[in-house]
């Protein structure tokens, strides 16, 4: 029987968090105005696609993962899960990428956020798992639009230290042939967008955007380094996430750069003032996987009750190695190197496990909690090998079989106590 009890809000201490949330609220209102009210051409794209192209061309973008989290935050994930079930989709479907499709197939403006999305100019996704081409292909058909897939080619040059070399030596780390393929695909995408929207891809504007993104990610990377080194941890992951991800959706914009700087400065102040998360820090935890969007209060509960502080989640420390790029006078290639492995480094060995072990060491982690969604091969991928790698490094790991957007079978209290039980068993509490 499926049960769901009580997703709870997380505690927010930083001024930056309120500012980011307020900006995003205004942005969403503006996005809705442009897409729904003004009927501007827009795109739907996965998070691991070259958003920079849309930003440069001033084409509004609805990111699928953000839209899923938005639907989930409106407590609609259960409804749309039932919609897919009623339409005959088998039970083993993954949910993270399909809430948007379900919302479109439901075709019920009274329930759907914004009354549902209208026809976009294009839908874009990298084929990083076997589901995505089906989900996006059917979504495009249902919206009367076009799906522009991007290959996710194999990766044979395996540099376990990729995170140290990716900023400058990206041609070697990510393989020239993989970069060239994505560049060719992006050039086709740009032509399609120019053709369909009449908006132009300005290379000078793109170059400046890439430089601004480097500046922004530099601030976030600096903050990540400070947080990892500080005792006690000054910022919970519940606040790291919005202060990283909201600017990330707007990467390179003046607001995003300014916000990243402001966040870095606030982190620095908190460290100087000796401010920690919650009351006392007894344990430092690592959260591996996507954010638990339906129960962000899960993190604060462990912090408040047990002093078990989630110091690390991927979003913030990812900014440094995966986003910052020396341009080498080839900004489109630099962008391709950012995108062409965005998913792989988080889900495949050796990249995933080597980075996690290195980060655990950097942040002095005592234990890791890993989200393993039961019906999502992509999100599960690499988790066991990472668990073994962390164990070799002396870090015990708890795998939580739960979904990031679906609260099905989730119980806040039960899960908090489950983690506490694991920490006790490991002699950490």
């Amino acid at each position: 029987m499926s049960t769901s009890t009580g997703g709870q809000r997380s505690r927010k201490d930083l001024e930056c968090t309120a500012a980011a949330t307020a900006y995003q609220r205004d942005f969403v209102a503006d996005l809705k105005r442009r897409v729904i009210d003004a009927g501007e051409p827009f795109a739907i794209a996965q998070a691991d696609t070259p958003h920079e192209i849309f930003h440069v061309m001033d084409i509004p973008l609805v990111t699928n993962q953000w839209w899923s989290a938005y639907i989930s935050a409106k407590q609609l994930s259960k409804h749309y899960d039932q919609v897919l079930g009623n339409l005959g989709y088998p039970a083993n479907r993954c949910r993270y990428c399909s809430l948007g499709l379900a919302c479109t197939l439901d075709n019920n403006p009274r329930i759907a956020p914004w009354g549902g999305l209208p026809k976009p100019t294009v839908l874009v996704a990298r084929l990083t798992c076997e589901c995505i081409e089906h989900v996006f292909g059917q979504w495009a058909t249902a919206l009367g639009s076009e799906f522009f897939p991007l290959e996710a080619p194999g990766w044979q040059h395996k540099d376990p230290q990729w995170y140290r070399n990716s900023n400058e030596r990206w041609e070697q780390v990510f393989e020239q042939r993989r970069i060239d393929l994505l560049v060719a695909e992006m050039q086709e995408l740009i032509s399609l967008l120019e053709d369909r929207t009449g908006r132009k891809f300005d290379e000078a504007k793109f170059l400046q955007l890439m430089l601004d993104i480097n500046e922004q990610e530099g601030y976030i990377a600096e903050a990540a380094q400070m947080i990892g080194a500080a005792r006690p941890c000054p910022v919970s992951i519940a606040e790291q996430m919005p202060n990283t991800m909201i600017p990330q959706w707007h990467r390179g914009s003046p607001w995003a750069v300014a916000h990243a700087r402001r966040f870095r400065d606030e982190v620095k102040r908190r460290i100087a003032d000796g401010v920690g998360v919650g009351g006392r820090e007894r344990l430092r935890l690592m959260w591996i996987g996507a954010g638990l969007w339906h129960d962000p209060g899960f993190y604060s509960a462990l912090e408040d009750r047990y002093g078990a502080v989630f110091v690390w989640s991927m979003y913030m420390p990812f900014a440094g190695p995966q986003y910052i790029r020396e341009l080498h006078d080839r900004p489109l290639h630099a962008l391709a190197s950012r995108i062409c492995s965005m998913n792989e480094v988080l889900h495949l060995p050796p990249w995933m496990n080597e980075w996690m072990v290195s980060e655990a060491d950097r942040c002095d982690i005592d234990a890791a909690v890993m989200l393993v969604p039961p019906d999502n091969r992509l999100s599960q991928s690499g988790t066991k090998i990472t668990e073994h790698a962390l164990a070799r490094a002396g870090i015990p790991t708890l795998a939580l079989p739960a979904d990031m957007v679906s609260a099905k079978d989730w119980s806040h209290e039960r899960m908090v106590e489950h983690v506490a039980g694991f920490l006790r068993q490991e002699g950490l509490l």
Binding site: A91, N92, C129, E151, P153, K158, A184, E185, Q380
Partner: protein
């Protein structure tokens, strides 16, 4: 040797040929066997390996979403059973297999296992010129990695072409008024992917000249996952209900007999076309209905494994199209590897439905 004897030998022990000479394994339906033959090695299709009962070694590293075939290969690999193979080629187009490639590379790096050299065939699958070019380049890289000899390539291409022509003949026979049992036809298809000896071709050619056939009372098309053995066919086929064809990722290559052109580029095109054709067909419910009509199917059984998470997204559209075409259709989705009691009961019920339809 008679075809049944060849089939028994091949399917009982797909690794048999690997023990007597240079052999290269492969996992995935679109790996260029021509290159393995041109390298002077015996190709061994690892999906033909019988599922291991005990998968404890594989379970240490593989999450539950991996396909049973990948889990079997991992188990056999970690047990040392595949040590006789020089290399194993994993296809990028098989999501489970390509992930297993990275896992095994990492386990070897950490000394957790030895075994063959893992290689990736980086096949692209989008219908775009850049993807074709990428596949051609990947095929060249693979040829270099396994030492495919350009002088032998022409003969290897002809071998594969001849094999596909024979399988094309089998497919035509299954579509005729008097058809062989589906379980036998499927055993032939499975063994044909596992044994590339000329003896196999001779046996199959001889069998096709005087095939064992029967006039089906009811004809069924099986759509969905690639059955790992002939269990689904056997469960369907009683009282002269015959499976006359399969539509799955492994089976659509039969009609795509390659051109006579030689060279690595032609090989790359064959593999690319095979993958895109399979993918396109499984995403085209109208074409599936057309194929069912062409085979004069009385019913369609959609059988999908729980680990085939991509294919699962096509189930509702296939069901809708078949029902709209008034084709009796049984949906068996999210299935375990072995047929469940419930599935067997549904198959029996479906046969009854076909009788009254």
């Amino acid at each position: 040797m008679s075809l049944p004897a060849v089939l028994d030998r091949v399917l009982r022990d797909p690794l048999h040929a690997a023990r007597s000479g240079r052999a290269i394994g492969y996992l995935g339906w679109d790996v260029p066997v021509e290159l393995i033959l041109a390298a002077g090695a015996v190709p061994v299709q690892l999906s033909a390996l019988a599922s291991a009962g005990d998968t404890a070694l594989a379970d240490r590293y593989l999450e539950n979403s991996f396909s049973a075939q990948s889990r079997t290969v991992a188990q056999r690999w970690l047990s040392g059973d595949l040590d006789a193979l020089e290399a194993v080629i994993f296809s990028r187009s098989d999501d489970s297999a390509q992930r297993l490639y990275y896992y095994l590379c990492e386990l070897q790096r950490f000394g957790e296992c030895k075994g063959p050299r893992p290689l990736l065939f980086d096949l692209a699958r989008i219908g775009r010129a850049t993807s074709v070019a990428h596949t051609v380049e990947s095929t060249r890289s693979l040829a270099a990695a396994i030492g495919a000899d350009a002088a032998r390539l022409n003969a290897a291409v002809q071998r594969v072409s001849a094999r596909l022509s024979l399988l094309d003949g089998l497919a035509k026979l299954r579509g005729s008024d008097s058809a062989p049992p589906g379980r036998l036809a499927y055993r032939i298809a499975r063994a044909a992917r596992a044994d590339w000896s000329e003896e196999f071709d001779r046996s199959l050619r001889a069998w096709l000249a005087t095939p064992m056939t029967t006039e089906p009372r009811k004809r069924v098309l099986l759509v969905g996952s690639v059955p790992p053995d002939d269990q689904p066919h056997a469960a369907i086929e009683t009282n002269d209900v015959i499976v006359v064809g399969e539509i799955n990722e492994a089976g659509v290559g039969h009609s795509g007999v390659p051109s006579k052109s030689v060279g690595i580029e032609a090989v790359a095109h064959r593999c690319y076309q095979q993958t895109t054709a399979a993918s396109t067909l499984l995403q085209s419910p109208t074409e599936i209905v057309k194929r069912a009509r062409a085979l004069r199917a009385d019913g369609v059984i959609v059988w999908m494994l729980a680990t085939d998470t991509g294919l699962a997204w096509e189930a509702p559209r296939i069901e809708l199209a078949c029902r709209a075409a008034q084709l009796p259709t049984l949906m068996l989705t999210s299935q375990p590897q072995c047929l469940s009691t419930d599935a067997l009961a549904q198959l029996a019920q479906f046969r009854t439905t076909l009788e009254v339809a």
